[in-house]
Every structure is written in structure tokens, then in C-alpha cells.
């Protein structure tokens, strides 16, 4: 099993979620995060005092999937989170040793 962590543009969440659900993905967890990277932030000026907004709002999607689905999910995210602009984000693949569904106590692939 792997955890796919994708950092994407917030306004792409709807598209990505839609596409994942269509492909049969049944669960995911999202978090509001802030990103720093090649995409430049902007300045807000309050009464002449410049506030540099370096950290840009992003959404982190976490999906735990069986190994065989990893490629598919990555592809979907890549396609639907894509705008071509700097700041589109990253996808990271992280190993997961086990998963448990609290409600049923199922373990492993059954659980996700």
C-alpha cells in the first residue's frame, strides 16, 4: 500500500476529486496547507506596511491505495490538477505498512 500525497492548487480540488471518484477511489483526506516554492507569493500593503505573503494556500490530498492503483491515481491527479503554471504542485509517494478501518477492524487493503 502507498500513501499518495498531492499538493495542489485549491481551485483544482473540485476537478481532481470528481475525477478520482469517477475512477472508483472511495476515500481521501484533505488538508489546508500553505506552500513555498518556485511560485512567487505576492505583497499586501496595509497603510504602507508591506506584508509579504510567501506561503501560498494549497490543498494537500492524501489517498492511501493498494500498490496496483498508484499509477492510475497519479495519472488522474496529474491531469486534473494541471494548469501549466508554476505552483501546480507535487505528488509524493510514501510507503504504508498497514491500514485499519476503525469501524470494522478490517486490515490492509480491505480497509482503504
Amino acid at each position: 500500500m502507498k500513501k499518495i500525497e498531492a499538493i495542489i492548487q485549491p481551485f483544482k480540488l473540485e476537478d481532481v476529486k470528481e475525477a478520482l471518484v469517477l475512477s472508483g477511489i472511495q476515500g481521501m483526506t484533505i488538508t489546508d496547507v500553505k506552500g513555498f516554492g518556485r511560485q512567487k507569493g505576492h505583497k499586501e500593503i496595509y497603510r504602507g506596511s508591506e506584508l509579504e505573503v510567501l506561503f501560498i494556500p494549497k490543498i494537500k490530498i492524501e489517498i492511501v491505495v493498494p500498490d496496483e492503483l498508484v499509477e492510475k491515481v497519479i495519472k488522474i491527479i496529474q491531469e486534473h490538477a494541471y494548469t501549466g503554471n508554476v505552483g501546480d504542485g507535487k505528488i509524493f509517494i510514501i510507503p504504508v505498512e498497514d491500514a485499519i478501518r476503525i469501524r470494522t477492524k478490517e486490515k490492509g487493503q480491505q480497509a482503504v
Binding site: I45, Y46, R47, G48, S49, L51
Partner: protein, 436 residues
Amino acid sequence: MKRLISIFLLILMVLMLSTNLIFAEGETPQPQTQPKLDTGDTAWMIVATALVMLMTVPGLALFYGGLAKKKDVLNTIAMSFVTYCLASFLWVVYGYSLAFSGDIAGIIGQLDKAFLAGVKVDSLQGTIPEVLFSVFQLTFAAITVALISGAYIERMKFSAWVLFIILWMSLVYVPVAHWVWGGGFLAQMGALDFAGGTVVHINAGIAALMGVFILGKRKNTLLVPNNLTLVAIGAALLWFGWFGFNAGSAAASNGLAAQAFMNTNTATAVAALAWMFTEWMITKKPTVLGIASGMIAGLVAITPAAGFVNIVGSVIIGAVVGFLCYFSVTAMKPKLGYDDALDVFGIHGVAGIIGAILTGVFADPAINEAGKGLLYGNPGQLWTQTIAVLVTIVYTAIMTALIFLIIRIFMKIRVNEEEEIIGLDSSQHGERAYNL
């Protein structure tokens, strides 16, 4: 805290004793010609008083609170709230009497109306109840002190602020109010100040400036408004309440009050636009904070002029002040480098001075016989205005410094670095503004 109480009692006693001892032989209050109570005037003045109260609680508290950092918003609000409460109390104890009852050498009033002694339900001041006049004036005292807090936020100990309120109101506000409105020497000189440009705004602005020099800079001097919707509410309530402040200063429900109302509205609107367009030109973005800041600058500048100038005067005062205050805040402050957190000097001080001076230029005797400015053939007025401004500046600056010295004897004035970092809401009040 106990220290606070004992200090307060001490001050109270000293004040009472000293004034009574020194001035016991002062003349008795002048009998006033007492026309009948006018229910219309009274109705307006009751409402005007409530409106000015609303300026501090919650107007100013929200305006300042919204601009504070997230971790300091409650402390900022608390500073205004506690000021209004303390000022309310001190005013009836001795403030009103010392400012408005009798006169000793043009400098201070007497203590005979302490606890409103002798102010009966049917005592009149002009056509309105004297007790109403007293509470109307109370709201001015309160907001003046509260205004100062905006400069000091995000670093000052709450207990030090409480002590500051007591000292500054007693030693600065009350005397200056007496000089200008209570029959003191500035009143006798003929300085024009319809609703308190000098007493309220210059006074507060200079105290703010002096205070931040002594307090020193915050670790993080950036302006990071935690909630600009609060700023919008606060600025709007300030404008709304200011109608009571300015039109209420006619002390009657008449054409002059209406003119002051119209002038207030016009100058404020024009100043907001002037600030907005200036900013738009320079940074390419007109901001809500800019509009709100322009409003306040306009309100401050029209304050001394509201019952003296005509509509064209109002437009010009608004335009000038909206334009200039933008620079006093965005250019002068960074250049000079003082940490006036919410620009109390940059807005209230600067706009107050501009307003006081321009009143001497635009005062139109067709609006109010009592005022005749440069443009209407009376250049001397400009001089009188300047004197009044200078006297206030000098007195306030010195006294504010002195007051900080006194406070330092009793306690630390600033929170320590860690408390500043975690925020004053937590360190001073043990509360958090939002649990969202």
C-alpha cells in the same frame, strides 16, 4: 493589581486635597442665565451622547481590534473598554468638576461638583439638563484617552495602561478641556474648536507619539490586520457616532447642528475618496483599509471646523487631509521610524493639526458668527489657532513623558519578550479571540 488600586487611591486623594487646598479661595461658579429646558434640544443631546459613547464602545475598540494581530485583538479591545469605564467613573468623581465648574487662573476648575454635587435633575446648561451636558462631555474624555491606546498596542502591560488612563485623564485631558471649553485661557484667547480637534485629536495624537518613543518598538512592527471586517464595522460606527460628536457640539437641535452634520458627512466622504485615489495612483490598489483610514482622517480634520465652515470648506478640508494623511502614514512614519502601531499620531495628530489650522482659514461667519477665518478677512485667527495647537502639543508632550516616568516607578510598562511573542490576549487576559 493591588498596587494599581493603591496608586489610584493615592492619586485621588492627592488630587482632591491639593486642588482644595490650593484653590479653596477660587471664585464661585458663575451663575448662568437659565432659559427653559427645550425638549427638542434635550432629545438630540441625549442621542448625541449615546452616539459618542458608541464611538469608543465598540467603534474604536473594533477599528483598533480588527487591525491588531490575531493574538492581540482582545487586549486591544480591552484597552478601549476599560478606558471608557474608568473615564466614566473618574469623570463623575472629579473630572467634570475640575474641567467645567468654575475657573482658577484660567488653568483648572474647582472640585465643588465632585460626585456631581449640586447638579440637580432640573439644573440646566443652556436649554438642556446639566447632567446631560456632563455625560456628553464624559464621552469626549473617554474617547480621547482610548484613542491613544492604538499607538501602544501589542506591547504594553494592561496594568500599566490602566494606570496611564487615570494619570493622563487627570493630568492632561481635564486641564486641556478646561482651557478650551471650561472657560480657561485658550477659550478666552478666542481659539476656534467646534468639537474638539485640539482637545481630543491633537492631544491624543501627541500623547501617542510621545508614548511610543518611550515604550520602544515592537519586535514585529508589521501591520497584520486580523480581521478587516471588524475594521469596516468600527470605522462605520465611528462615522455614525461622530455625528453625535460634531453635530452634538452645537448643543442644540438647530440649523447649526444640521450644518455640522452635513460638513462632517461631506469632509469624511471626500477624505475617504482622496485617500483611496491617492493610494490607487501610487500602489495601483485602492484598499478597504485605505478608505476606512481616509474616513477617520476626514472625521478628525472636520472636527474643529464642523460648525464654522461652509460646504466648500468641508470639501477642501476633506481633500487635503485625505491626501496628506496618506503620506504621513506611509512615508513619514517609516522615514522617522517610530512605532506608532495604528497611526494615532499619523492620523489623529496630523489630521487634527491640519483641521485646526484650516478652521482658521475657512471659518465662514455666514455659518457661525463666532468664527471668521483668513478667507473672510481675519488672518489673526490663523495665529490664534496656531498658538492653541502649539500650547496643546507642548503641554501634552511633556506631561505624557512625565506620566510614563511616574508609571515606571511603580511597574514595568512593557510585557516581556515572550509575552509579546505569544500575544497579549494570552499573557494579559488568558483568553483567545476566536475558537473557529
